[in-house]
Symmetry: C2
Subunit: 211 residues, 2 copies
Amino acid sequence: IDFLESHRKLAEANRKLLDEHGVTMIDVMGSVGAGKTSVVEQLVRGLKEKYRIVVLNGDLVTTIDQDRILRHGVEAIQVNTGKECHLDAALVRTVLERLDLGNLDLVIVENVGNLICPADFPLGSHRRVVVTSVTEGPYVAVKHPHVFAEMDFVVINKIDLASVMEVDVSKLVGDLRSVNPRARVVQTSCKDGTGIPELITRLVEEPRRCT
Amino acid sequence: IDFLESHRKLAEANRKLLDEHGVTMIDVMGSVGAGKTSVVEQLVRGLKEKYRIVVLNGDLVTTIDQDRILRHGVEAIQVNTGKECHLDAALVRTVLERLDLGNLDLVIVENVGNLICPADFPLGSHRRVVVTSVTEGPYVAVKHPHVFAEMDFVVINKIDLASVMEVDVSKLVGDLRSVNPRARVVQTSCKDGTGIPELITRLVEEPRRCT
Ligand SMILES: Nc1nc2c(ncn2[C@@H]2O[C@H](COP(=O)(O)OP(=O)(O)OP(=O)(O)O)[C@@H](O)[C@H]2O)c(=O)[nH]1
Ligand SMILES: Nc1nc2c(ncn2[C@@H]2O[C@H](COP(=O)(O)OP(=O)(O)OP(=O)(O)O)[C@@H](O)[C@H]2O)c(=O)[nH]1
Ligand SMILES: [Mg+2]
Ligand SMILES: [Mg+2]
Ligand SMILES: [Zn+2]
Ligand SMILES: [Zn+2]
């Protein structure tokens, strides 16, 4: 059986389990240090009064990201892969089975810091988000078209640094639209909070209201 | 035969081919946008009068990085993997075999933008360098110990942004020394040229003088 096909089946099974309990899962991907944890921190700050949330922090070996989420008084589980460069549906399944899904609204997964591999391993989430930062340079979208093509949302983070990096954000947005016309693009700064209310609305609140 | 073991054997064969012709090969790794191409640009600017150089630019699909090197009047070959998240020794071998190694001094390889996977796939280089940037945050070393443990050199790039990122570079250097006591650490800014003369001396000129 095709390797990627079997992973897709596992992802479908995860999605089914989540839907049975009315739980929404969001997969947050992005390169090392793009701002995944910072974005998730901003999301839980804005949503924890209204939704019951668990965060899954994917990484190789540390618990640093889990600790950052726990400080917000939100449950966070560290999901370490050792050396594997991406989370996969089977690993996420083992965590989902330990959760009290009947008493949860939202699972936010922070994937391993890697812009390439996680895109090939869907987890069964309702929404796939990639966080890219202006500090990665202006060509990220055209250099990773098959990655961005898979995404529902693209967060362009660290926009407070766009001018010092001399990155033309509108050109980057244009590139993103050509590799993925349907993806919603939100510009954020986790440093000053720019774009976070918009992200919360479009990524979490609007879709939930429709279901 | 073990998968990683067979790659190691291919790497050894590459190294042997290079040594037969007295060519030094340097493997430059690092996450998306860390500054690999910028560092290589700075290296070729400083070395092209003195050494016969070819650059191999690894990526998924574009020729953007090759074009940047060609603009310096240095030969550059684009080595695209399609979707594979790292260069490997077999792919690099096919390129080495097309080069006039007898008339070259230095091959610089820019690996695919990915901090995790390339570390597991040695290419047969004489020196393995990872470029990390302060914009990736303060925990890169402790989060990727097996990667940094493999390296001969670590370049901490974009140090001109250290204060706006509020990253304590000396703490990062300390973390690097604990995960890899033998690695040489050089701090650079490709924006203002800081650290580049030191990098050229320690990475290229000093080692060559000993052989
Ligand atoms: N200036 C600025 N810095 C930011 C912003 N967002 C995050 N950072 C900083 O960027 C660094 C990396 O942020 P993280 O949230 O740890 O990124 P990450 O993607 O979770 O990193 P890994 O999980 O290690 O791959 C940290 O030093 C953050 O403080 C932003 O919008 N602006
Ligand atoms: N401020 C600052 N920006 C830098 C520095 N070095 C590189 N940059 C910028 O960082 C961005 C990425 O640099 P690149 O050299 O393309 O990085 P890379 O590692 O080759 O990127 P990929 O090959 O796409 O993974 C570009 O916008 C560069 O101009 C530096 O020392 N300081
Ligand atoms: Mg993180
Ligand atoms: Mg590059
Ligand atoms: Zn991978
Ligand atoms: Zn990989």
